[in-house]
């Protein structure tokens, strides 16, 4: 099913999404990948505030290439989500509602998704030029010294993703592969 949603979003809205849905996201999302996650995790361990609110927000696992003059961003496709698996359950328990990446997640992440009524989206890996066209604005939020790995606030318009793990724990990677496996 094709759906258009706004980010940030509520748990009620997240619950309407089903594994396999083709979704266009508009609104505000945040980028964070390996180094930013490590830094946020360490900040939490020290009892400090995070540079962005988790509740209702969507994190895009992405580190862009540099923007050419007059463009908001460079190539901007998803990175492999599993490297953030160590940190994701903590952020989900703090209210993070969605993650955009690519690739498999651990059972611990899936359980945290179900526990919190969240959702894991995949964007098409290796389609960074195309995906950059759905990003209308990009603004640095924190950890500038991390370069491409800094946290950015993105304004997106009809950003195309597919629901892989929904709030009930259905996993498209598992079901879709079975459908086309001819062993």
């Amino acid at each position: 099913m094709e759906q258009h949603i706004q980010a940030p979003m509520s748990k009620e809205e997240a619950k309407k999404l089903r594994a396999g849905d083709y979704v266009y996201i508009s609104g505000t999302i945040y980028t964070a990948r390996d180094a930013a996650h490590k830094r946020m995790y360490e900040a939490l361990e020290r009892g400090e505030q995070l540079p962005l609110e988790m509740c209702g927000n969507v994190i895009y696992y992405m580190g862009p290439s540099p923007a050419r003059e007059g463009r908001p961003i460079g190539s901007a496709g998803p990175t492999t989500a599993s490297r953030m698996d160590k940190y994701a359950p903590t952020l989900l328990d703090m209210g993070l509602i969605g993650m955009i990446g690519k690739g498999k997640r651990t059972d611990a992440v899936k359980e945290a998704i179900v526990r919190n009524g969240a959702v894991y989206f995949a964007a098409v890996g290796g389609a960074g030029a195309l995906l950059s066209k759905s990003i209308v604005q990009s603004e640095l939020v924190a950890y500038e010294d991390l370069g491409t790995e800094a946290i950015r606030r993105l304004e997106v318009k009809n950003f195309p993703v597919i629901v892989v793990i929904d709030s009930e724990g259905n996993n498209l990677y598992e079901t879709a592969i079975r459908e086309y496996c001819v062993e």
């Binding site: 190539s75 690519k102 098409v124 890996g125 960074g128 030029a129 991390l146 370069g147 592969i177 086309y180």
Partner: protein, 280 residues
């Protein structure tokens, strides 16, 4: 003896880094177009069409095909009659990478130390493989490697008794474990034989072979065809979201090995399998 100024190496590598990150080689481009026609799954076809659109935008607007513009892997086949002048060859290669990644708006993805992890901010150093060959030419292959797929690559130290079935199992295991993480449709580079490090290098080099070319060893060619069929029956499909196009090619390179061993390396590459060649 032929004299080559290393400044020529710098200039060529700079141009090649920019070129490969915006345009696929002809063999890869054709394989990707062909996949749209043959893919069975509707969502798989939709993803392959998006990737066509992505390639078009990348070339027209000069936005890198993928934001992971890779760690620059460079093969230099140097004729033994060549004499380099103008400075250090290694520094000239790295200068080409530095200029290409900086002036070409490519992502700087290299950290200076694997544990301390401070970004070098110019994507250097490159990983450079030198080979001395006959003649007076220099063949440069630039093959930037993204790490979504690099992370899913494997080395298996099999036993001779494992034989060809062991090799097949190793390749299928690596591909199935990689699944959606490696951004399928993938290209599978395989090295069989040699030593621990030699088979890994064979696998890397296999990725630079055109995807429409087969090994000239008959049994290896058959193995490449059989494995491609098997991989495309796993159901992984484009983006790992189900379908009949999981790999575009399986390229296998072999080398003599020890009586006690059967090393197998599987180097997986995503559909942005970048490789450009120039001969000076």
């Amino acid at each position: 003896m032929r004299t080559i100024d290393v400044a020529d190496i710098t200039q060529n590598i700079k141009q090649m880094c920019i070129e490969v990150n915006h345009f696929l080689s002809k063999d890869m481009d054709e394989a990707m177009k062909c996949a749209v026609q043959t893919e069975k799954a509707p969502l798989g076809r939709q993803i392959l069409c998006q990737l066509q659109e992505n390639l078009k935008i990348a070339g027209e607007d000069m936005i890198p095909i993928c934001q992971d513009t890779g760690m620059a892997v460079i093969f230099l086949e140097i004729g033994q009659e060549v004499h380099f002048v103008g400075g250090s060859l290694e520094e000239a290669v790295n200068e080409g990478v530095r200029q290409g990644y900086t002036e070409g708006y490519l992502r700087k993805s290299v950290v200076k130390d694997p544990i301390l992890r401070e970004n070098t901010k110019d994507n250097t150093p490159a990983v450079i493989h030198y080979e001395l060959v006959e003649g007076n030419q220099v063949k440069i292959t630039v093959a930037p490697k993204g790490f979504g797929s690099e992370n899913m690559s494997r080395v298996f130290m099999l036993k001779p008794a494992d034989g060809i079935e062991g090799v097949k199992n190793a390749i299928l295991t690596a591909v199935k474990d990689a699944g959606p993480n490696a951004c399928p449709p993938m290209v599978v580079g395989v090295g069989v034989g040699g030593t621990f490090e030699k088979c890994a290098l064979l696998a890397k080099k296999a990725l630079t072979r055109a995807v429409d070319e087969h090994s000239d060893i008959p049994y290896v060619k058959e193995l490449e065809e059989e494995l491609l069929q098997k991989i495309n029956k796993t159901g992984i499909g484009p983006g790992g979201l189900g379908g009949s196009t999981t790999a575009l090619a399986v390229n296998i390179n072999t080398y003599p090995t020890h009586i006690a061993g059967l090393p197998v390396a599987v180097n997986i590459c995503c559909h942005v399998n970048r490789h450009a060649v120039r001969v000076l």
